[in-house]
């Protein structure tokens, strides 16, 4: 198995507060790694350090064996790393189709060739296929801001896949989504994974979602890893039960 993401002894401090404390883990090609933990356990900070939104205080991050610590998010994206955010991050005034074209256009040629190239950057067909894949065809020309919350979550996820990424980090994709949409979202993520053998890292509070989707789970508490393993293994771990699952 090839390591797609390697995190070595990563720490992030904000003044005297240690948000992420000496965390190391590896994500292999084709893995779906779930990261769970209570609020304030450092999950999103860890994501932000991996994705270049924050500079780690210590430690290193490598993508496909290449040093990527502190790299800008746009450069990471061009390396094949994509993400979604905890809060909805679509472009409300653009259509669903334009949101998806935008999500892939910067991978097409240079800035100058994009200016003189086709308005859809040659991505019209790929966008339509992604729209179809995420069951959004009836909404293709709607402004993204007019969609329901669940539909926007689907679009948000679809945007992360538009550039054919090597690694996708999903920050609470199921947060606030109703049961119908939740099932559809999980089913589509599984289908994408099966079809493209993509590698995911998922932060999620919705335990059923994590257990059904992930091949491996990592548990964070106060910035440290307290457990790691297969979903069922983690579910049975007494420390995890006591600290996070409650029963």
């Amino acid at each position: 198995m090839t390591a797609v993401l390697e995190v070595d002894n990563l720490s992030k401090r904000f003044g005297g507060i240690v948000a992420v404390d000496n965390v190391s883990f590896t994500v292999n090609d084709g893995d779906i790694l779930g990261i769970i933990g209570p609020n304030g356990s450092g999950k999103s900070t860890l994501f932000n350090c991996v994705l270049g939104q924050l500079m780690p205080s210590e430690g290193r991050v490598r993508i496909d064996g290449r040093e990527s610590t502190g790299m800008r998010p746009c450069d990471l994206n061009r390396l094949g790393v994509s993400r979604t955010f905890q809060l909805l991050q679509v472009f409300p005034q653009l259509s669903v189709r334009d949101n998806l074209i935008l999500a892939g256009q910067e991978h097409q040629g240079s800035m100058a060739t994009r200016l003189f190239g086709r308005p859809d950057a040659g991505l019209g067909e790929a966008a339509d296929q992604m729209i179809e894949f995420f069951r959004l065809s009836h909404l293709a020309s709607e402004q993204a801001g007019m969609l329901s919350y669940g539909q926007q979550k689907l679009l948000d996820a679809a945007m992360a896949f538009m550039a054919g990424p090597r690694l996708v980090l999903l920050d609470e994709p199921a947060g606030g989504v109703n049961l119908t949409m939740l099932g559809l979202l999980r089913e589509r993520l599984q289908a994408y994974h099966a079809e493209h053998k993509a590698t995911f890292v998922v932060i999620e509070h919705q335990m059923e979602f994590v257990m059904a989707l992930c091949t491996r789970v990592l548990v964070l508490a106060e910035g440290k890893i307290i457990a790691e393993g297969a979903p069922e293994e983690v579910r049975r771990n007494p420390a995890v039960i006591e600290a996070y699952l409650g029963h």
């Binding site: 939104q53 993400r83 910067e106 097409q108 800035m111 069951r135 009836h138 945007m159 949409m181």
Partner: protein, 326 residues
């Protein structure tokens, strides 16, 4: 664009061609001023309306462009090279002005650009060796096009109108390209845009540079239009007026600056029948418009004529039961 929009544009185009044959010289001067300020407002609309970068310095770029053309033509340069230099100079200065936008946003950025406008005004006023200070520069020559002089009011109006059509078409084409989508992304959600691979730094600088270039080119037409330029013409008032044109017309809408400039240039003149009260009435009309329609005149038109349809969520077909059971 729908059929109603196309018809409106066609009627406006015919009016723009026919009007100068019906108007007296002052009327032609006013519509020429509308054309020139529309170009500057298109530039500001690009920076502010599309890319979301607040700029209170567009008047300064009109000034830089006007002085560049006035000084270079006075030094014996032909109009067109001077005009191109004015655009390139404003592109470079606009690019540099974009750097603060990489660190500050919103009202902080407004103050940075406002300070820049004041700086340009002070340079134009105090550096007399270059700009002739408060005495200004008179008599900027109008260009010759294919051997034809544009000295007359009507000829120069058509020259400016041609420039407007060219520059507006170039802007339209750019906004339809992936750059236009990237500018909107920059305005709506720069953090998400960055995570999708957009080099937001480069697009921010480009938005400032291109918007400023259009301001400079408008200035390059302003100097030969008014035939006398002096620093006060390019003080903060000009920048506020251009901002008003963009907001009143409809920020982030392609034809917003056309409508906004029409209102800001012509309405005060039409209001002159109210004699001493004309600016008070004009100000009140603008305030009423902004209170009841913050999206500007074109926003109001869209609201009135857009067909009503149910929200997208309600229009969604029922999802299969299998999705719920998984």
């Amino acid at each position: 664009m729908n059929r109603f929009g196309l018809l409106t544009v066609a009627v406006a185009a015919v009016a723009a061609i026919v009007l100068p044959f019906l108007l007296k010289p002052f009327g032609i001067y006013l519509i020429s001023m509308w054309v020139v300020l529309t170009i500057a407002a298109i530039g500001l609309n690009l920076t502010l309306g599309y890319a979301g970068q607040v700029s209170m310095a567009q008047g300064a770029f009109v000034g830089i462009g006007a002085y560049a053309v006035a000084l270079l033509t006075a030094a014996g340069w032909p109009f067109f090279p001077a005009f191109v230099i004015a655009g390139l100079l404003c592109f470079a200065i606009g690019w540099l002005l974009g750097y603060p936008a990489l660190r500050v946003q919103h009202h902080y950025l407004a103050f940075v650009t406002l300070a820049f406008n004041t700086l340009v005004f002070l340079v134009l006023r105090n550096e007399e060796w270059l700009t002739n200070g408060t005495y200004g520069i008179a008599g900027t020559e109008r260009p010759h096009l294919f051997g034809l002089s544009t000295d007359g009011a009507r000829a120069f109006y058509f020259f400016c109108l041609g420039m407007l059509v060219l520059l507006a078409a170039a802007t339209w084409w750019m906004l339809r390209s992936p750059w236009g989508r990237a500018f909107v992304a920059l305005r709506e959600n720069p953090i998400r845009a960055l995570s999708l691979g957009l080099d937001t730094r480069r697009y921010t600088l480009m938005a400032f540079a291109l918007g400023s270039t259009l301001g400079g080119l408008a200035g390059g037409l302003y100097a030969p239009l008014v035939q006398f330029i002096e620093p006060n013409s390019f003080s903060l008032n000009m920048s506020f007026n251009l901002l008003l044109m963009v907001i009143v017309g409809g920020s982030g809408r392609f034809f917003g600056p056309f409508v906004g400039a029409l209102i800001a240039v012509l309405l005060p003149e039409w209001m002159r029948i109210a004699e001493g009260y004309y600016l008070i009435i004009y100000a009140m009309l603008v305030m009423i418009l902004m209170v009841f329609c913050p999206t500007g005149v074109l926003g109001l038109v869209e609201k009135l004529f857009k067909p009503k349809k149910p929200p997208a969520a309600a229009a969604a077909p029922t999802l299969k039961a299998e999705a719920t059971s998984r």
